[in-house]
Symmetry: C3
Subunit: 269 residues, 3 copies
Amino acid sequence: MKLSAGDIASALRSIREKGPVVHSITNYVVMNNTANALLALGASPVMAHAEEEMAEMVGIASALVINIGTLSPAWVRAMFRAAEAARKRRIPIVLDPVGAGATSYRTRTAQELIRAVPPEIIRGNASEIMALIDRGAKTKGVDSSASSDDAVALGRALHEACGAAVCISGQTDYTIGKSGVIRGQNGHVLMTRVTGLGCTASALCGAFASVTADPTLAAAEAMAVMGIAGEIAFARSAGPGSLQMHFIDALYNLSDGDIEARARIEAEP
Amino acid sequence: MKLSAGDIASALRSIREKGPVVHSITNYVVMNNTANALLALGASPVMAHAEEEMAEMVGIASALVINIGTLSPAWVRAMFRAAEAARKRRIPIVLDPVGAGATSYRTRTAQELIRAVPPEIIRGNASEIMALIDRGAKTKGVDSSASSDDAVALGRALHEACGAAVCISGQTDYTIGKSGVIRGQNGHVLMTRVTGLGCTASALCGAFASVTADPTLAAAEAMAVMGIAGEIAFARSAGPGSLQMHFIDALYNLSDGDIEARARIEAEP
Amino acid sequence: MKLSAGDIASALRSIREKGPVVHSITNYVVMNNTANALLALGASPVMAHAEEEMAEMVGIASALVINIGTLSPAWVRAMFRAAEAARKRRIPIVLDPVGAGATSYRTRTAQELIRAVPPEIIRGNASEIMALIDRGAKTKGVDSSASSDDAVALGRALHEACGAAVCISGQTDYTIGKSGVIRGQNGHVLMTRVTGLGCTASALCGAFASVTADPTLAAAEAMAVMGIAGEIAFARSAGPGSLQMHFIDALYNLSDGDIEARARIEAEP
């Protein structure tokens, strides 16, 4: 497995040309920013959560992103319906297990979703990924409290258990899939002070998975683009408020040259 | 029918003086930006969606805006209750049929709302408007996939079927009402890369309808103000992130002179 | 009772060191900005509203903030569950009675919450606070339509009725508690043109209550930090859009020197 800056730029170009519809069932906190990030990237966001329209809405989408950040029974039912519809249509599914480990409702919902309809990509922080395997792991809110280095072995275990490419974001982003591990070093720590950039990363995984067939590569491409846009935005920012705004602008303006100059990615078999 | 820059400026002044309460039942994705746009305009937003308080909340409002962007059965019931309360109080109702045509749940809900409590203004993109008449029209997500030119005849058909002023937004904004068609040419294409500016436009239609008696004029005034603020914002923006921010600032600072200098409106009987 | 700029700076430092988890059950309109404000302050926001996970989620929190801005029966049940869990764990509870007085559903919900599980802090505008005592008070939407001067006596009455520190925000912020009244003069009127800065203030009350034992002092600290960050942001803003962004940046960058130079607080027994 190899992933070059050129591959990332080419995938981004493909998103901008095709404008893939990414259906997101995501949490209330981040919906607006997630939709704006998808639009800035060149994708076409759709957000809907009623069981009544799930199959039809998934029917016009090129990828489905399920984020469990604000759950309720009705939404959980809709998530299962959406996942089943996506599986039938063979479009990629991304799962963001926000807060898995923090409550058993979240851990259980994420585990049941994985069991019922295995997603192509699971993206979370180390605590969340660990919670999906090891019920003993504790999550402090929705932030990571485990080092990514400890988690990569567990990520591999989750990949082996369910087949998904597992993306563990943190100072280093690890993507573990069928053909190996990709390490990404892009991004800036101030991004953790903006709510929902992890959720945005999962949404971008959906967009990239609609144009890149290999889920491991798609997730690594998304993380690189997130990180590079975050670095460019950070350089112009005076704090997390302006970082959020410049991040959206940077995503929109991201050029092949930006990706070439900044991508810090390492793949191993 | 005539609509001058002076009329628009005068309506905006009236909103700023009266601070009309605009009750919005809108989708989760855009609530924050919609509320901020109404505040920047000079109106007073209220957002509530529980059946339990619908009649009372509508009771303090000067306009009601119903946006079907994220539906669920409980919200649909609340929308009907709110519309009935608004009709009793004779305050204007604006309907934004977000995603009509994308799923039958949305198309049906919008059609039933129109049938049960005909709104004063319906604002959507061409696909959405077409979906309300022609079940064959397809919506690609919530974006327009039909040209506004094709849609204006259908807009007239919808107006004739239900009596509402029908506003079809796109590169040209068409407002079709009892006394003719108004074409607006303000705005910038980058606005389509910010989520929910269409929803904001519908909210502004509500604010203008609370001060301008003729719904066709009110909708055209709102679209002109949206477009002019968008143009001013675009000139200061580096992408869709900063466009959103400058748009709110521009709405807040919009002067008679800005409107006079930029309004591009054409009315025909 | 005394509250110095040094106390405020010290409480803020303590939040930044500890990163307290603040669990917010808040309205859809403001979730994103509230989470971002808590992150910028140095706290760790959690937002969850399902009864199924309430007790567990409150179990990892250092403060609970309940905001009734967008109610529904399921959310009201979750609010009671969360309040009971917080009471058991003896973590501080903040109640923001958004729109109390506007509908009886809101007034009743806030009153029942106060009766069932008396909060440590209640923060609202004058109309909302009055509505909790005097059913005759009318709220115009969620904005204040009563002067803070009239309201302070009612605030004292509410404090005496339920024991909570009562914070009435307006041009002057009054905090009335066990040991007296604190008047804060920070802030800028343009902050009222940004949706949800009142809700943000309540969330910050939660963060400060997790590090400052006296609820009256905690609320006054939060209001001072809000107001100071708002003033700094206003000086850099061209309107309410940029104010919101600079506000988050200002919260993040707030220094001891800023607080020392700007705090305008007066306490009386």
